[in-house]
Amino acid sequence: MTNDTSTPAPTPLAGPRASGRKSALRRCLSHPSTIIGGTIVVFFVLVAVFAPLIAPFDPLASNWGNVRQPPSALHWFGTDDLGRDVLSRVIFGARASLAAGIIAVALAIALGVPLGLMAGYFGGLVDMVISRLTDALLAVPFLVLAIALAAFLGPSLQNAMIAIGVAAMPIFIRLTRGQVLSIKNEDYVTAVRGLGVRDRAIIVSHILPNVLAPIVVQGTITMAVAVLAEASLAFLGLGQMPPAPSWGSMLDIARQFLTQAPWMAVWPGVAIIAIVLGFNLLGDGLNDTLTPQQEDG
């Protein structure tokens, strides 16, 4: 993984957020990385949502008499080895990629954040068990773990999402745990504890909101990793099932025809690069705008 999340983020916010949501949002929106990254991501989200309206052809419709045709006025991106329109397949492929990115990361957060909260807040045996398990998972390279899980679960887009989500989970456990450790002895936490508020309420209402910012940043960056992982799994035949399109499986097929039909590889490749770039820029921008705000506070 690219981000070393074992080190806790800079001094966290003491007490409830100082500056309101509005100013954070304004700062985000004025950061160039966020604007460019966000635009790219929004573009692909719109493409995925409105795929049936935008795509000029049915992405599954084969045309035997029209295989591996170079780009033309009719087929802007050319046709593939079964005579299907590459543009339409790239458009529909955005669905698999974004779904994988969003659902896998949502799963990773849904599993990782509660575990990290528990490990950080309760400490002791709970922390030891969760942290050792996290260490074990982190010892396996992310993609290797995802491939192993996907192969174990069987090839399908749904299983690929689960595999990526589980493989991405340990990073959220560790990040959340580190954040919780650094704030759980802050005065405002001690104060509510002293008032007799129950642990669950403390975690949910007082700790969680104050560890959310780095998780959002990490989530955005992990989204890029997840999209790439879905493409890798599809490339290996462990993701989206044929004939439904996925950028990774399109690349897998295209590599056989690199010399005869390069357009089959170029467009899904460009799409993967663009969306990964988009998520990374967005993550960078959020990191720059959300983290300093806390330092100021």
Binding site: A151, P243, I253, L258
Partner: protein
């Protein structure tokens, strides 16, 4: 030192000018790393390519699938076709110096019949005993006539290894000793296998290279680029879509042969089967919905041979009375409607390779036009094979390597209890015909029996054959004398560097 160096240089230049460039290594790119190099155990196609240079066999095939001499010079059957007497070459020694004789043949056949882990046991099971008539004559005794026997001996079951070296040697495959034109030198797993010329080979004049090195290169695009770059002399299994690159390159040559292999849509007609199992009409509808020519054009650039039979047209046992049926979607739709099945749904299982994946998607699109709903289940190789062997599939894209004789194909797939009969098919009438064909040595009579067999299995449709692949070898134009036969094996005999 300088003087000797000069001498060496002038000597090698002399050698070059004389055209004896035979001090060369022939490098051949293989797609897969062969398994063990013991003919009694070997089970891979790439292994058979290596065996050709390493181990001679009793008999061989020619381009027309006729049986021709190799270690046996001639042979004859007794009157009731239960004894095959073979005369053997008397000028053959194994790589370890052991002479090849009738006793060696007996030792080899008995070894393959009794050795633990032998993969040749069932192929050789018709032989009840091997009698040594004299030093160079041997008789194979059978219980009942078995016409495919000679054909069996053209493959690994007919390969002779040194009995001295094999005796009690558990690890024979790691350093095999045979009597072929090249002897084993070195092997590095998943990397290369190196063989060196055997000086005492009986047919040494026909051997053009000092050594052969088989390099394992799984990706066909990489094999192609290596012969283009000139650091590989020969590459097997060039992808049909890459042929143009070889044809248009003057420094390369393309050698092809129609193959014996068949790819077919195997239909489970047993208990595990779906809606197709109990409905011959729906099976017919599936076949009518398929356009084999289009599959060949789209998936293989039109380079393979579309087929509706298990036996390829290159064999005299292909049934010419049963041409490929034309695609007829309307008739298929009518059959589906007449069947009364609401929304018939079928599932195609296949190994997740790019080739089978493409064929599966084409089949899906075609069969759906007839009113079926077709789902695809691509599985990673080992789980696909596991399901296949367990008969756990509705339809399966099978790829069978084929044999020179029709019996090992037809009996194993359609005979009751055949080793590839995994779809629950059983037909008494077909069993009778296939067993009769086994005992029939007269070619014309045998052709007639296989004509009957085709009529039965093409009507019952336990499978829908799709295409026969073609063997494509790419090679440097500097290699002369390459000929590929329908078994797809690269034969080193007669191959040498161009003058």
């Amino acid at each position: 030192m300088t003087a000797s160096k000069l001498l060496l240089i002038s000597a090698s230049m002399l050698a070059l000018t004389m055209g004896t460039a035979s001090a060369q290594t022939l490098s051949i790119g293989l797609q897969d790393d062969p398994d063990t190099l013991d003919p009694a155990r070997g089970g891979t196609y790439s292994g058979r390519i290596v065996f050709d240079a390493l181990c001679d066999k009793l008999v061989d095939i020619d381009a027309n699938l006729d049986i021709v001499p190799q270690l046996a010079t001639e042979w004859s059957w007794n009157e009731d076709s239960t004894e095959l007497t073979m005369s053997l070459r008397d000028d053959v020694v194994f790589h370890d110096g052991t002479p090849f004789d009738a006793e060696a043949v007996r030792a080899n056949i008995e070894r393959m019949q009794t050795m633990e882990g032998s993969s040749r046991r069932s192929e050789l099971s018709p032989i009840t005993s091997v009698e040594v008539v004299d030093d160079h004559t041997v008789t194979l005794v059978l219980e009942t006539p078995f016409a495919p026997l000679l054909s069996v001996l053209t493959d690994r079951a007919g390969m002779m290894v040194s009995p001295t070296a094999a005796e009690g040697n558990e690890d024979f495959g790691a350093a095999p000793v045979c009597s072929g034109p090249y002897e084993f030198a070195e092997r590095s797993a998943r990397d290369f296998i190196r063989l060196e010329k055997f000086d005492d080979y009986w047919n040494a004049d026909e051997i053009g290279y000092e050594a052969v090195e088989y390099q394992i290169i799984p990706d066909s695009t990489v094999r192609l680029s290596r012969i283009q770059a000139g650091d590989l002399d020969v590459a097997e299994r060039i992808a049909p879509t890459d042929l143009e690159a070889i044809r248009s390159d003057e420094s390369l040559q393309l050698q092809t042969s129609p193959g014996l292999a068949v790819s077919h849509l195997f239909i489970n007609v047993g208990e595990e089967g779906g809606i197709l199992a109990d409905s011959p009409e729906l099976r017919e509808a599936v076949e009518l919905a398929i356009d084999r020519m289009a599959i060949n054009e789209v998936a293989f650039n039109g380079e393979f041979t579309p087929t509706n039979q298990m036996i390829p047209p290159s064999s005299i046992f292909n049934s010419s009375a049963h041409p490929i049926p034309e695609r007829d979607v309307a008739a298929a739709q009518a059959l589906v409607e007449a069947s009364g099945v609401e929304n018939p749904t079928i599932e195609i299982t296949y190994e997740n390779s790019l080739t089978d994946g493409r064929v599966a998607q084409i089949l899906q699109a075609m069969i759906q036009e007839a009113g079926f709903t077709v789902s695809l289940l691509p599985l990673e190789t080992s789980s696909a094979i596991e399901r296949y062997l367990a008969g756990n599939f509705e339809l399966y894209i099978g790829n069978w390597s084929g044999r020179a004789d029709p019996d090992p194909t037809l009996y194993t797939f359609f005979g009751t209890g055949g080793s590839q009969n995994l779809n629950g098919y059983s037909s008494e009438a077909l069993d009778e015909v296939l067993i009769a064909a086994r005992g029939e040595l007269d070619t014309e009579a045998r052709q007639g029996l296989y004509e009957d067999a085709a009529e039965i299995y093409l009507t019952d449709r336990p499978t829908i054959p799709l295409y026969h692949s073609t063997w494509f070898y790419g090679a440097s134009a500097d290699v002369e004398g390459i000929t590929i036969y329908p078994d797809g094996i690269f034969r080193v005999t007669g191959v040498g560097p161009a003058e």
